[in-house]
């Protein structure tokens, strides 16, 4: 982990501690009940998060800093984030799949999701991709609905 990332994590920990502490103060407490109440445990966690943030900052501070280390850090961060657009693209595609899940139904949404997801990497064999997408979609339907007795959406547009 680079020094920049350690300081960033320390800052996140301290912000989380502050926000969590503030939210814990809003929890209603009954006049009767156990002596600790529902607020105490979250407040202890908030305190521990603050300590954790300071520990992370201490670890980052103790790392040797030099011009070489700085450029190494930047290169490492660039390396780690190089494929981020691919992951974000996959996240977006999956998010759209979830959006379509109840709208157009499990079978159609899943077949489209699988076709798109596989076709993005295997453009030459679109017919095989289509068969795999449709086959898997139907196969999982039989497994979950027929065999396991689960309930999957037909699609609001088809109801």
């Amino acid at each position: 982990m680079t020094i920049v990332m350690r300081y960033a994590l320390a800052a996140i920990s301290l912000c989380l501690a502050a926000g969590y502490f503030a939210a814990s103060s809003e929890i209603a407490v009954m006049a009767i009940g156990d002596p600790v109440g529902p607020r105490a445990f979250p407040m202890i966690i908030a305190g521990a998060l603050a300590v954790c943030g300071l520990l992370l900052a201490w670890e980052a501070r103790k790392k040797p800093v030099s011009a070489e280390a700085g450029s190494d850090d930047r290169a490492k961060i660039r390396g780690k984030l190089a494929d981020l657009p691919l992951v974000l693209g996959a996240t977006l595609w999956t998010g759209l799949y979830f959006l379509a899940f109840e709208l157009i139904g499990y079978l159609l949404a899943t077949a489209i999701f699988l076709f798109g997801g596989i076709f993005a990497f295997r453009r030459a064999r679109w017919m095989v991709t289509l068969m795999v997408a449709a086959g898997c979609s139907l196969g999982f339907y039989l497994l979950f609905v027929v065999f396991l007795g689960a309930s999957l959406p037909i699609g609001r547009v088809f109801e």
């Binding site: 929890i27 156990d34 600790v36 529902p38 992370l56 201490w58 996240t91 979830f98 959406p153």
Partner: protein, 498 residues
């Protein structure tokens, strides 16, 4: 002693029922497949299949999930040996010499010794579990709320301190998990906490939703990145699947030593199969007359770690089944499965549900035999799985994850929560933050708070209750050592560097 022999026999009767034999077989088969598929470890596999076990009896469900757990250890070595890509982290050491054996034309021998070592260590590990579970369970009867709080705190701190390269990062992961575990209605006061008025959060964030996101979805994202680096070469299996008498003679003691190391390491929270394989490999290299040849295809370098990773499963199940204490992310998923099936884990689980505990232990004897049969003669069949393009497998895993989450409550909101956890798990991996403390906190957060509040209610808000009994004092002291020791060692390391 005779009563326990009676329970053990009852356990075998339960495990040998046809439907339970079937589920043990399915678990072992799926575990082997999960182990072979790079990027999909036992935790992700168990999290994905957990929703599918809802209609099953608790014993059958746990037998199936346990089968996936120890089955994946058998399967993980196949990819280590044939494509130098471990199926899961505990097979990393097997790749060092296993892949070299394959390159030297001894892939069959490497796969054979891997299966043999796994079978012997797995079986011996279950025998040790059978012998030691009862004394530990008897000791567990002395646990009250204060002792249980100390035990849970010790387990969580150990996992935070011993996983990853930084105690502070492990602690951050743990505290984030505890934060998430407090979302929902407080069981003791009935007050709503951190729900933001969202109805679905009243019951808290589901463990399965988080586990599927953190393990299955995050693994898909990480494997997608690895895919960009290009495909791996698969070495074919030439010759027979057997070893020479000389190779067997050289493997016996590494297998026995690996079994002991793995079992003991598995018991410790935060220990895990990966650490045990590293210890075993290091030991065999130091004991061998040809230590310098390790890394070039030494059979001891395969036999020892493979024995260690299988024995560690039995070790890790011991605190889970006797104390209700998971020591890793994978056993935390098993604990979650017990809770979902209405079994309250804890120190009294063995007393209250002896048939379930012994049924699961005895199913492991059967499971090891099944796995030996599956992995030795049928390994060539499983190797075919490696030829399925990862670009087809990854979207299928996402669909399975979505189905598993949706069939819980029919909620699309939970699908998005799983996706968010997937991104969180991916971010954790990029930042080298361990995920195991977070999942452990999600499972143990509620019991930790509950035992704390129960102890405080009993003592009338007097904190001295946590240092009244010898057990809780020892556990609190051990927790303090777990917190302080990594910090002192880190400070010494930095002083040496300066």
């Amino acid at each position: 002693m005779f009563e326990n022999a009676d329970y053990m026999l009852q356990g075998f009767m339960l495990a040998l029922q046809p439907h339970n034999l079937f589920f043990t077989f399915v678990g072992c088969l799926l575990g082997t497949i999960v182990g072979i598929l790079p990027g999909l470890g036992p935790t992700a596999g168990m999290a994905l299949l957990l929703p599918a076990t809802f209609g099953m009896e608790p014993a059958s469900a746990i037998m199936l999930l346990a089968g996936i757990y120890y089955g994946s250890m058998y399967g993980g070595s196949t990819t280590s040996i044939l494509i130098n890509t471990p199926g899961e982290s505990s097979s990393v050491m097997t790749a060092l010499d296993g892949y070299q054996m394959a390159k030297n034309g001894r892939a069959g021998a490497a796969l054979a010794i891997s299966a043999i070592a796994s079978f012997i260590a797995g079986t011996l590990g279950v025998v040790l579990l059978s012998l030691l579970a009862v004394p530990l369970a008897s000791f567990a009867l002395k646990f009250g709320p204060a002792e249980y709080f100390g035990l849970l705190l010790f387990a969580m701190m150990s996992v935070s301190a011993l996983t990853g390269d930084s105690f502070a990062k492990g602690l951050f992961s743990l505290l984030l998990g505890l934060m998430i575990a407090t979302v929902g209605i407080d069981l003791q006061s009935g007050m709503s906490r951190f729900t933001g008025g969202v109805p679905i959060l009243q019951d808290g964030i589901g463990f399965i939703v988080a586990a599927v996101g953190l393990f299955a979805v995050a693994e898909v994202f990480c494997t997608l990145e690895a895919l960009m680096k290009g495909p791996s070469e698969i070495i074919g299996i030439r010759g027979g699947l057997w070893i020479t008498w000389e190779e067997w003679r050289r493997s016996v003691w590494p297998i026995l030593r690996g079994t002991v190391i793995g079992f003991v390491q598995g018991i410790l929270p935060g220990g895990g199969a990966t650490v045990s394989t590293i210890l075993s490999y290091g030991l065999e290299r130091s004991l061998s007359k040809d230590g310098k040849k390790f890394g070039s295809g030494m059979i001891e370098g395969v036999a020892g770690p493979e024995a260690a990773n299988n024995a560690s499963i039995s070790g890790s199940l011991m605190p889970l089944l006797t104390l209700g204490l998971p020591g890793s992310g994978t056993t935390a998923v098993l604990l979650g499965a017990l809770i979902i099936h209405g079994i309250q884990p804890g120190p009294l689980m063995m007393q209250k549900h002896p048939e379930l505990v012994w049924g699961v232990i005895d199913s492991m004897y059967i499971g090891n035999v099944i796995l030996f049969i599956l992995n030795l003669p049928l390994v060539a069949l499983f190797v075919r799985i490696l030829y399925i393009p990862t670009t087809i497998l990854l979207p299928i895993v996402l669909v399975l994850a979505a189905l598993g989450v949706y069939t819980l409550n029919g909620s699309v909101t939970e699908l998005y929560i799983a996706l968010l956890f997937g991104l969180l798990g991916y971010a954790f991996r990029k930042a080298d933050i361990p995920v195991a403390p977070l999942i452990l906190a999600l499972v143990l957060g509620a019991p930790l708070e509950q035992s704390f509040r129960q102890a405080m209610t009993i003592s009338g808000a007097d904190l001295a209750i946590f240092v009244k009994s010898g057990i809780s004092t020892t556990l609190i002291a051990a927790t303090v050592i777990m917190i302080v020791a990594p910090l002192v060692m880190a400070k010494r390391r930095m002083k040496r560097v300066e």
